[in-house]
Symmetry: C2
Subunit: 176 residues, 2 copies
């Protein structure tokens, strides 16, 4: 055993690992094992991107959880909403409107069509494109989705405050 005391842990400290036995951390208090609440973020606070990332993570998780019973993800919901409000759109138009790639929309529509929420009807005027419509089943389903989405939106209001939510929508309106 004494022959190799640090065998495994594979490429643990491969390259660098300067191997200073008593390395001074220059930190004074050895933060290493703390709970994770009193760790400074320094410049990270003050970066909008970081805050937005954390917020978006939270909001998507809540959306997915709130709509878990109907198994609908945020992107799927946005696609069905746009088609529901504008029947007959082409895939290109939907993709451009929602800022998703048409390559990605193909799979999204495949899954929604498999579940009989959406149908691709060959366009009468352009034989390349499809006119997208909600099926009858899709329409009633979307109504239920919207009720659940409204519940999710209430969760958001509880989290950040009703007025802050309104302000957020107003500030970010130029991106929708």
């Amino acid at each position: 055993m004494a022959s190799q005391q640090k065998t495994s842990r594979k490429a643990a400290a491969t390259a660098a690992a300067i191997r200073r036995p008593q390395a001074r951390t220059a930190n004074g208090g050895a933060h290493a094992g703390e709970a994770g609440d009193d760790i400074g973020l320094d410049a990270l606070v003050g970066h909008v991107g970081y805050a937005v990332r954390r917020f978006q993570l939270w909001i998507f998780q809540d959306f997915i959880k709130t709509l878990a019973t109907v198994d609908i993800r945020p992107t799927q919901y946005s696609v069905m909403t746009v088609i529901g409000a504008n029947p007959g759109l082409s895939q290109m138009a939907v993709a451009k409107r929602l800022g998703i790639e048409r390559a990605r929309l193909v799979h999204l529509l495949d899954s929604l069509e498999e579940r009989d929420f959406v149908s691709r009807i060959p366009s009468a005027t352009d034989r390349r494109s499809h006119a997208l419509h909600l099926t009858a089943r899709g329409k009633t389903a979307l109504a239920r989705f919207k009720r659940l989405a409204a519940e999710h939106e209430r969760h958001v209001a509880e989290k950040i405050g009703k007025d802050n939510r309104e302000r957020l929508l107003q500030i970010l309106a130029c991106f929708t």
Copy 2:
């Protein structure tokens, strides 16, 4: 040729495709081929998650573009910032603080260690964990990153307004 006029396009309208030749779109004006600006979003406007998703996409793209010369992505920047502000942290502590999985942090640190920005020093008190530090090269590099990140932050202020940016940071402070 006349034998098969619709051969390929593979599983185009496979399943559903009700094939109504002159299907009334119930939309009045046949939106299908429009530029993509006057398409209603219906319930999507009013959903914080949708606005945040679009905003986060824009902000990350600008961050990546602004820091393209140094080839640093947002997550890498956040990791280096936290380590720089709290030397000696364990991987677990960093992951918990930034809300990223420790499994994911492994690869992030691998790349940062390969570029000699970060070093994993075996902890003196816990032989399972590593004490994370910036290398000398990493410290000077982070200083440049911060200048570029500040420039990115100015882009954000130009986009949404200086005061709106401040308000945003304030509203989302509870997530950082």
